[in-house]
Symmetry: C2
Subunit: 345 residues, 2 copies
């Protein structure tokens, strides 16, 4: 787990390798080749599914499993991730998350005190997010067939608008906004794994973003795209959006907010911060005329103080993401292929 | 995994043991001591949660994780269980299951062919049940931290009646009906594990029961209790119902349908068939005046040909389950404590 795994672009396996869980190109292939044909999935897969109409909107449904290692890290534990992650997936559809289910897979030998701590964190995070944990399930596996605890959460919410933001909706001329510094969660995990003794200077950003999303949609109901920047980070998210919308995305590297400690840890460990996972950060793509009001609203929110405008959408080259570096050069930002940061969430 | 684990009634641990996943008394304690206080859960926990009102009823939401070992067994695989299990949990609320989410936790090294087979089975089972798999997630863990594949499914459905059947609704005078032979799933799994070479004579009953439930509710909208007989089997289900309803339940052992091979395997391996898990069997508790029409409807359905009336509800001793044996004696049927059949689903 110390070294990056599967860095080579070998894509055709007959067995599961760590890269299949990366959220990058290999995960995409697994979904495209095995899951999508069997389950008859649509071409553009968002963070959640929009279901049947209800009284005042559409139901939204999402799920995520959490296998992060270590279970506890600066800024949170697997419980805060498990609630925030699914709340955020529902919120990114422009929906209000309402209910969560929780499935635990416990490994024989897990200390009950640890479980209690995780469960209490889940309850606190759910309370902060205003969602109810309403149903659950517990399974136990023998020692050596788990890793303490794995958690699945599924979330149900209601989307009020006629059409929520989605990854196929970025338009040339739009601008990209993020609600704060990138890379915090991933480097907090890697810091613990590598024994970097930086105290809380590397601290996860895990947080439910539904309150922030609600504030943004209130001032700007027409947000084109909303994405939380989890596995694969900004690189994977922008790549999917560029593909789904048939546009080019240009990122100004100098404008991307990154904490100094995170930048340093990335350099030391050899990570591109734009590929590192976040658990409390979102990308909003909006019409240029809406950019100011959305950015101001982000900055006025406790979870968006360091929000910034980091790039724009153009029509120069369909499906491409480029990054203008601080030195004035331009690099193509590829979809991450394999697994740089295994078990980050 | 060959021997039953945790057979002793030692209940207070500071660590997770296999018995915490049994669906019996220890699972109940874990939920009562750790999950319920944190999440503010109601006293009576059904198979699923009833959520907010929608156009034409109430939303129902449920989840289950599946860790069965082996992944493939006579009559199905982990994929058919993962779909049937959650479909059934939603159906037992008297609801129509509509949508499923799927979360995979894959172990590094899993053959893609096996995964493809499991996924195709899931798709087939979902089609049979008339539900849509609409959202999902994939994580990969290192070799030695999983067991091939674990699957979580969550399900959303709509409950049409004003009040669905629930475990607190059994009344003295009611009768107990099951839709066929008990113990098939559990003994199919144990047969494989113990290398009993009985071919398909031990075969899982895994099946989605929502079609059967719909047929039953059509002829009898006032079914008092519906429960699928999974972990802990008939013993755990009737025990919970007796407690939640404050009634006594009497089971006529001679009336409980059991296949001869299953009975033989239970005797050979030392299991009480009433505690063995089923994945395609339900218990319906109905007013005595409704018993005939419900039983006839079961027997007319492909999944209820061997349906039988197996007992009654009385008010003799609150919270108790007794079993009248074939020899005319009576034994108290306790809630299973620990784990007789680990990783059965």
């Amino acid at each position: 787990m110390i070294q990056p795994t599967c860095p080579l672009p070998v894509l055709h396996y007959d067995k599961i390798v760590m890269g299949h869980g990366s959220g990058g190109q290999m995960t995409e292939e697994l979904v495209r080749d095995i899951f999508a044909p069997a389950f008859g999935m649509p071409k553009q897969l968002g963070d959640a599914a929009v279901l049947s109409k209800v009284d005042n909107g559409h139901l939204v449904f999402s799920t995520d499993s959490f296998v992060v290692q270590p279970l506890f890290f600066p800024g949170g534990n697997i419980g805060s991730l498990a609630v925030s992650g699914t709340v955020n997936d529902v919120a990114m559809m422009g929906a209000t998350p309402l209910y969560l289910s929780v499935g635990f897979i416990l490994e024989e030998g897990l200390q009950l005190d640890k479980l209690r701590q995780i469960v209490n964190t889940m309850a606190d995070t759910a309370r902060d997010a205003g969602v109810c944990i309403v149903t659950g399930d517990t399974k136990v596996v023998e020692r050596g067939h788990g890793d303490g605890v794995y958690i699945n959460t599924a979330g149900v919410g209601v989307q009020l608008g006629l059409e929520g933001p989605h990854s196929g909706n970025a338009k040339p001329g739009d601008v990209l906004l993020v609600n704060g510094t990138l890379g915090d969660h991933g480097m907090a995990i890697m810091g613990v794994r590598h024994g970097l003794n930086l105290g809380d200077a590397l601290c996860s950003d895990a947080a439910p973003l539904n309150g922030l999303v609600k504030a943004l949609l209130t001032v700007c109901p027409n947000i084109h795209v909303l994405r939380d920047l989890t596995r694969g980070g900004l690189a994977a998210a922008t790549h999917e959006i560029a593909q789904d919308s048939g546009v080019m995305i240009e990122i100004e590297e100098a404008c991307v907010p990154v904490k100094e400690t995170v930048r340093g840890a990335c350099e030391m460990l050899g990570f591109d911060v734009l590929q590192v996972a976040n658990e409390g950060k979102l990308l909003a793509i909006v019409d240029a005329s809406d950019a100011d009001v959305v950015l101001n609203t982000m900055q006025a929110h406790p979870l968006g103080k360091e929000a910034a405008c980091i790039g724009r959408v153009t029509d120069v080259s369909e499906g491409m993401v480029i990054c203008k570096t601080a030195f004035g050069s331009t690099r193509v930002m590829d979809m991450p292929v394999g697994e740089l940061l295994p078990r980050i969430c």
